[in-house]
Symmetry: C2
Subunit: 387 residues, 2 copies
């Protein structure tokens, strides 16, 4: 029997609690648990929840609830915090430390592993992946992304239909998705597009600095053909001459957002039409009503598999989702070294997906799950004019 400490870190997803529930259900049979409160902060300050029946029941009930039920958040984890945090885990007799998180978390776990070795403390360290914007490396994708992609694709298609019917008043919408360094989510906005008239007509991703002339060409093209244009941009998009747009800096971390406003202002000026910017916002990571069924299932499985690896003694690894086949989607979970995840850094879209969006959508399609409705072509009637 091991003593296992588990926490959630970083921005939550709509399925991060499913991973916790899967992990806890499987691990609590044979091991004792300690829950870390508010992510790294709990580790740094030594604040935990005890494991009792009520906790186990509550975590199980949170399986389909968005947000991180243990608390996650952001906390600037220093080397001192890591040193004292590890000492505290040792003192508590913790055998294994598990965090559900993204890039920052895998890096933190790697440092924690190093510190434990330094303290000659045999701590088992395991990372369970979560992401909204799919920027985590060494895995096909991570839980959370499929649901966000589904939300972005559905919202874009619906807003584009709405805009089409309003085109004598409002002609351009600029939608901003999450994605600080990677365009996976913004590019997902076109997944459900079936007809040229439907948006998105222009997609801008951080991997490609945005040229004003390219943007303008795409928009004026759509305006002249359809009378309306939908543009989708990642929050991390930069103008080809310029820098990222920041709203503010909190705890040394820039809060992005606002590029859609800049783009809308530019298009309004150039095209002289009513233009609206809109952030797709927090719904991207929290709107639980459209969670992808496959995403939820995989999130749970990632937790369950992590628990098995705790038993098996794997350490210094992250659970990675490996895709078996493109055609009939199947995946299995394999261990990857934390070191490799950290080295891979923030994962951007591969060139082949940027250059061939159809290829990207074939890859993406199974991740957004079932039951997405199909829309008919935009209505095209025979027009008559009465004098």
């Amino acid at each position: 029997m091991k003593k296992v400490a588990v926490g959630q870190a970083g921005g939550p997803t709509a399925v991060i609690n499913a991973t916790l529930a899967g992990f806890v259900k499987e691990v609590e049979r044979d091991h004792s648990l300690l829950f870390i409160k508010n992510g790294y902060e709990g580790l740094a300050k030594g604040s935990y929840y005890e494991c009792d029946k009520e906790m186990l029941k509550s975590i199980s009930l949170h399986r389909d609830v968005p947000g991180a039920c243990l608390g996650s958040g952001r906390f600037p984890l220093t080397d001192d915090h890591i040193e004292s945090g590890v000492r505290r885990l040792k003192k508590e007799g913790v055998d294994a430390l598990v965090f559900i998180g993204g890039n920052g978390t895998m890096e933190a776990l790697k440092k924690i592993d190093r510190e434990a070795k330094k303290q000659q403390y045999p701590l088992q360290v395991l990372g369970l992946p979560k992401t909204v914007d799919n920027d985590l490396g060494e895995t096909d994708h991570a839980p959370g992304f499929g649901s966000s992609a589904r939300y972005v694709a559905q919202a874009t298609r619906d807003m584009s239909r709405d805009l089409a019917s309003m085109k004598n008043f409002e002609k351009v919408r600029v939608l901003e998705t999450m994605g600080r360094n990677a365009g996976w989510l913004a590019a997902a906005s076109g997944l459900l597009q079936q007809y040229d008239e439907e948006g998105p007509h222009v997609i801008a991703i951080p991997e490609r600095p945005l040229k004003k002339e390219t943007l303008l060409e795409g928009v004026t093209n759509a305006l002249s053909r359809y009378g309306h244009a939908t543009v989708v941009v990642s929050e991390g998009v930069t103008w080809s001459e310029g820098s990222q747009v920041q709203r503010e800096i909190v705890d040394g971390r820039p809060v992005l957002g606002g590029i859609s406003n800049e783009i809308a202002a530019f298009l309004k000026k150039e095209c002289n039409v009513m233009t609206r910017a809109e952030l797709l916002g927090m719904n991207q990571r929290s709107f639980s009503a459209v969670v992808s069924d496959i995403d939820r299932e995989e999130a749970y499985t990632v937790g369950r598999v992590g628990a098995e690896w705790i038993r098996d003694g794997l350490s210094n690894v992250m659970v990675s989702i490996t895709r078996h086949s493109h055609h009939r989607y199947t995946a299995r979970m394999i261990p990857v070294q934390l070191e490799d995840v950290v080295k891979a850094g923030e994962r951007v879209m591969p060139e082949q997906f940027i250059q061939n969006r159809k290829l990207y959508y074939e890859w993406l399609k199974p991740l957004i799950g079932e039951d997405v409705s199909i829309y008919p072509p935009p209505l095209k009637g025979d027009e008559v004019y009465v004098e």
Copy 2:
């Protein structure tokens, strides 16, 4: 057999096409149809779609698609437009004119009726209601509102859970809903709230000018009790000393929006915590994945009933939804005079609903439909601190 012209006007809803589909399916059996393109603009300029099998099929396929498939939009309809529009309908041999719309539409129809009488032209005039923010009078509610309310309630609950888990980084969220003069949608944000810790902790509606001290008290209260606070405001909210916040004026019509930014800036300054403002945006009227089943059904029925009334010769009326019982929700459709709808003006929340939100939620509950998931209480563990 009558010749019937039908159009959609104003901002669309996620179910405005269901009303069109219900109307067209029922009316096309016995009558001929002409479709008005882009709302009032089509009327003013005489641009229509002919009715053929393709059109009928397309409209039927659009039943569950957001946006107005005939085009709606905004168009400043002048007396000259009405005069020439009516003359054109007369020339075309149109017997009945039907618009799916809100307050502005019912007023326009009333004027059209007057103009037809002036031209000694026996035009049957019928209004089919639609609204997002429930500001249409002389009806219990109108199609479109239930789905928007559902969306707002779900998004608020989910964002509040997300915020709770991020509270060591971000503490206050200010969500802005539609509602220029009426607070129905903003107030709906609390419908699914089951626990005090869940947001919304403060709701601001246009019916009550917002006092800075009341807002601040609500937010600091929530911050001290739960460590986070969710505020929901209608776009039309005004400070108790001040005016509405406008983004711009298009065609003489102010585009509201931005009060959430003002409120967030105020709270950030007063409470000195990370605060985010977010517009719930176009999803409120277009996000079709969470449409209320009862709303969609009623939207369709409103169309079907309108078609029956065309046959029966009712004129100068709007289809009104009358609620039979609070306990087991049932409703029937009755005609109300367009004149009375116009006189009623923009319908704000009644005092009893403002003062007793529970009463409002009892009224609202059946309109948002089935299959809304229940969340467990926020996790409360026994905390332990390790030195």
